[in-house]
């Protein structure tokens, strides 16, 4: 089990955004999360990546607890140093890429492995060049993010996350900020990672893509998991009325 989230509760003020959400992801699994706007998909990923603090529940990576719930039902995080170590287990790819604009493509990819993981520079460089090859960006190694198309930027962002050698990669609508003609190149890369058995959780609105690459699809609405299962089942024969309605609206 790479990721284990149990009974996650998260509220912003009075607004309860995640209600008793549980999610387990096995090694090599690709899980897609779909659902209407505001259903809590991003918040779930942000809680999993410690960008938001959960109110209650448990989070474990590779069996190691990052957050547990105490007797009073409140979430308790491990210490700051341990939490930072925990971050080595995952990577996150944002909708808006969030590349560092003042770093070249190569430096975006190499900086964290060198300065956070303290790995030897030469080793990191060799791996970064491999990643660039994989992302078809070898020629752009010295370019700056502003000189790249959105699709290229997102591929650099994926390479930057992969350079940390995470056990699981989260994507939050990786193609939503892209022009339609550029989504294909990013989806292709994710599909390739799926074939290599990279463990991934992908929040997406690209239904055909979700259906094609995932092992499991989760439909969220109103802060709860309404339905989940095999993609053919969820897309082909959804059981819940809300799922049916959402997919129907989506086809129009």
């Amino acid at each position: 089990m790479v990721l284990e989230m149990k009974g996650i509760e998260k509220a912003f003020g009075n607004l309860s955004v995640l209600k008793d959400i549980s999610l387990q992801v096995d090694s090599g699994e690709v899980v897609s999360i779909i659902g209407p706007s505001g259903s809590g998909k991003s918040t779930l990923l942000r809680c999993a990546t410690f960008l938001e603090r959960i109110d209650a529940g448990e989070i474990r990576y590779l069996g190691e607890p990052a957050v547990t719930t105490n007797g009073q039902g409140e979430a308790e995080y491990v210490g700051a140093a341990e939490l930072r170590k925990m971050k080595q287990h995952f990577g996150l790819v944002f909708q808006q890429f969030n590349l560092f604009p003042h770093y070249s493509v190569l430096k975006n990819i190499m900086d964290a492995p060198i300065h956070v993981q303290k790995r030897p520079k030469e080793e990191v460089r060799a791996e970064a060049e491999e990643l660039l090859k994989k992302m078809d960006l070898v020629k752009r190694a010295e370019a700056y993010p502003c000189q790249l198309s959105g699709g290229q930027q997102q591929r650099v962002a994926i390479a930057r996350a992969l350079a940390m050698k995470p056990s699981i990669l989260f994507f939050d609508e990786p193609t939503s900020a892209l022009d339609p003609e550029l989504t294909g190149e990013v989806l292709k890369v994710i599909r390739q990672l799926a074939e290599e058995k990279m463990t991934m959780v992908v929040v997406t609105h690209e239904m055909p893509f979700a259906r094609a690459v995932s092992n499991r699809v989760i439909f969220m609405d109103g802060g709860v998991i309404v339905e989940q299962g095999d993609p053919e089942q969820v897309f082909g024969a959804p059981e819940q009325e809300r799922t049916k309605q959402f997919l129907r609206n989506y086809q129009q």
């Binding site: 960008l51 971050k87 969030n98 560092f100 604009p101 003042h102 300065h115 956070v116 502003c146």
Partner: protein, 218 residues
């Protein structure tokens, strides 16, 4: 008095002007950083104190601040101050005044950086210090260059305020020369204006080059 003598005397004053300018610039550009960070502190007391400080610095004349810093220690505390206190007071007053402006400029620059930058760094495991010095600060510097240039140009002209406590920088010198017997009179002021103008021209040129050096990214 010949024009050459007049120019020589002005040039002497100009050296003092340069000293005020550079010492203020270095001091306030650096001090602006803790001011900006204090202004954004998570501790309300720190935030509040910095806010009051900034509001006083911006809400009262620099000329008055110069007098308070210069006369304050002896008037309020009865201290007798060394002879070179005058120049030190000028630098102290200028630095704490300009640091308030730079602090606000830095804060705006930091706040304009998208949260996504901080979040990306956080997920990659950067410490808070690494995030600030590697990711936030360099991007902030680029963003604040235009407003900083404005302040620097204002500073060139503001150095003349030091004359209010009797510092003999170029402006004071020009006043002294102009009223001296058989001085070149009006020409003295014209010469002083040229000094300031050329100085500012150089400052604007240098700042433009620095901005250009940051053009490689957006």
């Amino acid at each position: 008095m010949t024009i050459q003598t007049m120019l020589g005397l002005l040039a002497q004053g100009f050296l003092t002007t340069l000293a005020i300018f550079f010492l203020t610039l270095i001091g306030s550009l650096l001090l602006g950083l803790p001011v900006a960070l204090g202004r954004m502190s998570r501790y309300g007391v720190v935030r509040g104190a910095i806010k009051v400080y900034i509001s006083i610095m911006r809400g009262t004349p620099l000329m008055l601040q110069l007098m308070v810093v210069y006369f304050g220690p002896s008037l309020l505390l009865g201290l007798s101050l060394p002879a070179n206190w005058r120049f030190a007071a000028v630098i102290v007053a200028f630095v704490i005044n300009y640091a308030a402006y730079f602090g606000e400029i830095y804060r705006a620059g930091i706040e304009a950086i998208s949260d996504g930058q901080r979040e990306a760094a956080q997920v990659l495991g950067y410490t808070r210090g690494q995030t600030f010095f590697k990711i936030i600060l360099p991007q902030m510097v680029k963003r604040v260059l235009p407003p900083v240039t404005n302040e620097v140009i204002t500073l060139v002209k503001d150095t003349s305020l030091a004359s209010v406590i009797g510092t003999v920088e170029m402006f004071t010198r020009a006043k002294q020369i102009a009223v001296a017997p058989n001085s070149p009179g009006m020409l003295t002021f014209v010469a002083a204006a040229v000094f300031y103008y050329v100085f500012n021209y150089v400052v604007a040129f240098v700042m433009e080059r620095i901005e250009k050096a940051f053009d490689y990214y957006r």
